[in-house]
Amino acid sequence: MLSKDEVLHIAKLARIELKDVEVEKFQKDLSAVLDYVEELKSIDTEGLDEISQVTGLVNVQRNDVVVQTEDREAILSQAPETKDGYYKVKAIL
């Protein structure tokens, strides 16, 4: 089973704050998923290339022209905080 520290490390990378009960729960849950896929380790993958794009497209390009996209005001209106037409964020440090 994944250790408490491992789960906390993953949560830190994923930027999700976990409560203590959640740490225990995810120790079990994540381990269940990893156990479930364990069988794949027995498959010989020699000579197989990885694939992620299945319909054979390569380097799709478009013309470099200016187009009108969505309305700036409407986009900003979805943000919790803005100032002078920018997103406002809290201090980083």
């Binding site: 976990l18 959640e22 995810f26 994540l30 794949l40 990885e50 969505e70 979805q78 905080e81 980083i92």
Partner: protein, 494 residues
């Protein structure tokens, strides 16, 4: 007059002959949505917008000239499709108040047709699930038996079409999320080739497998709708440049000369006997219609569900990184600095299943584990793609059960971290290989896990799988089958 369960051609005719107005149709279906709200099929009902859109459609119909095929006909959309000015939640509290500033391409295409949106349907949160149970807005009930799940993740679209709350409903299918509900709810469900439809403006789950389709009442309806929502989109570079065939015009009920494969790995030993019986009967029927049936093998089938359980969370962890509490969506009130904005907004907004998948993905992509999990999974994905390519050199289409069982009891999935992967084991491989498939009703079977109030049992689904870009073939087989049978005309008594 009753309008539920009328197919699109009939609704088109009624509208064109002015026997009913679009406003009347919209009000009729809105009334049903309200009457059957205990099914919890909808998250948002767009009553005002629907009546406005219907009014516009009526004006258009009243003007001279031909009407677009879907003009004035109501529909519903899974809450994954962005709808300008209409709340879109993905069934997650992190998007509870999100009002998109633009339409997804498919919604825009339907607007051009002057179709009428009734509302946004319930689903698994971010489409993570096969039961509808990870929704932040409660379970959706199966109209055939309210103690059972409608399957997911397009749970509300499945239940909604099945209960006659909308003539058709958009869904998304990343690992079976249209076909599963089609099977459990006894309707027709269509998933296109990857890239046949545009992902633009559809909330992302796993971008290399996400497809957009719908649930509807017949294959004939499916052939119509598919024509209007498909096609290359400059806003989605992964869409194919191939022209969209006139699916409906090309429908062909004569199956002579067609070669159909039965992949033996899809007929699982533990499948419910009632399901097996119905699927075998359907295969016999398709043989009777002229097709030649042969047994084929896809030897690595069993590994697809595990490959999927690695690749999907990986892509989810990447796609869901955008929910940061800064640009849109839920933002915490508790943060002191930027890092806390991220950590707390995401902790408060995401449900359990979303957190589980983000963290699984983060783990398998992290330093030291990438090769053992993600890279290996992508290699085995190649193996699955190769096997499909080989098999489609021998046959035109494949027939399989959509699910080894009929609808299961509600509540089974909610706390089970691997329920979805196992439930979708006959479905995910199509997504890994980007190939199209359709699920059609093929009869009823009694559940193996207890009683059901539905006298004849619960719906069984037949899955028809085609090669990449071969939608016409699966439509033809489904169409021929539905011309000869009437399982798709059975509806639940709710």
């Amino acid at each position: 007059m009753n309008f539920e369960f009328l197919e699109l051609t009939e609704l088109r005719k009624l509208l064109d002959e002015k026997k009913v107005s679009s406003v009347e149709l919209a009000k009729y279906f809105l009334g049903r949505i309200k009457k059957y709200q205990d099914l919890n099929a909808f998250i948002t009902v767009t009553e005002e917008e629907a009546e406005l859109q219907a009014k516009v459609a009526d004006d258009y119909i009243a003007s001279p000239g031909e009407n677009p095929f879907l003009c004035g006909i109501p529909y519903a959309a899974k809450d994954m499709f962005l709808t300008k000015g209409i709340r879109t939640t993905a069934a997650s509290k992190i998007l509870d108040n999100y009002v998109p500033p633009f339409d997804s391409t498919i919604i825009a295409k339907l607007k051009e047709q002057k179709a009428v949106l009734l509302g946004k349907t319930n689903q698994d949160q971010f489409a993570h699930g096969s039961s509808g149970e990870s929704s932040a807005y409660g379970f959706t009930l199966n109209p055939w038996d309210k103690t059972r799940m409608p399957a997911g993740s397009s749970s509300g679209s499945g239940a909604g079409v099945s209960a006659g709350l909308a003539p058709y409903a958009l869904g998304t299918d990343t690992g079976g999320s249209i076909r599963g509900p089609a099977s459990f709810c006894g309707v027709t469900g269509y998933k296109p080739t990857y890239g046949r439809t545009s992902r633009y403006g559809v909330i992302s789950m796993a971008s290399s497998m996400d497809t957009q389709g719908f649930l509807c009442l017949s294959v004939e309806d499916a052939a119509h709708i598919a024509e209007y929502i498909s096609g290359h989109d400059p806003k989605d570079a992964s869409t194919g440049a191939l022209e969209v065939p006139e699916y409906h015009k090309n429908l062909q009920a004569d199956l002579n000369g067609l070669k159909v494969g039965l992949p033996k790995e899809y007929f699982l030993e533990g499948m419910e006997p009632g399901v097996e019986k119905r699927v075998q009967e359907a295969i016999k029927q398709i043989e009777k219609l002229g097709a030649t049936i042969v047994e084929v093998s896809l030897p690595s089938t069993h590994y697809g569900q595990m490959v999927y359980a690695i690749i999907t969370p990986s892509e989810i962890s990447s796609n869901l990184a955008k929910y940061d509490g800064i640009r849109f969506g839920h933002s915490t009130a508790e943060a002191k600095d930027l890092l806390e904005v991220y950590n707390k907004s995401r902790a408060e907004g995401f449900g359990d299943e979303a957190k589980r998948r983000i963290m699984t993905g983060t783990y398998v992509l992290s330093a030291g584990y990438y090769d053992a999990y993600y890279k290996r999974a992508q290699k085995i994905r190649r193996l699955l793609v190769n096997e499909f390519e080989q098999v489609f050199k021998q046959v035109d289409v494949l027939l399989t059960p959509t699910s080894p069982n009929v609808a299961l009891k509600s509540g089974l999935a909610q706390h089970d971290p691997i329920y979805a992967y196992i439930a979708d084991r006959l479905l995910v491989n199509c997504n890994l290989a980007g190939i199209p498939a359709i699920s059609v009703p093929c009869g009823f079977a009694l559940p193996a896990d207890g009683e059901t109030p539905s006298a004849d049992g619960l719906p069984v689904g037949l899955q028809i799988i085609g090669p990449q870009w071969g939608e016409q073939k699966i439509f033809n087989v489904g169409y021929a089958y539905q011309q000869a049978t009437d399982w798709h005309k059975k509806h639940p008594s709710i």
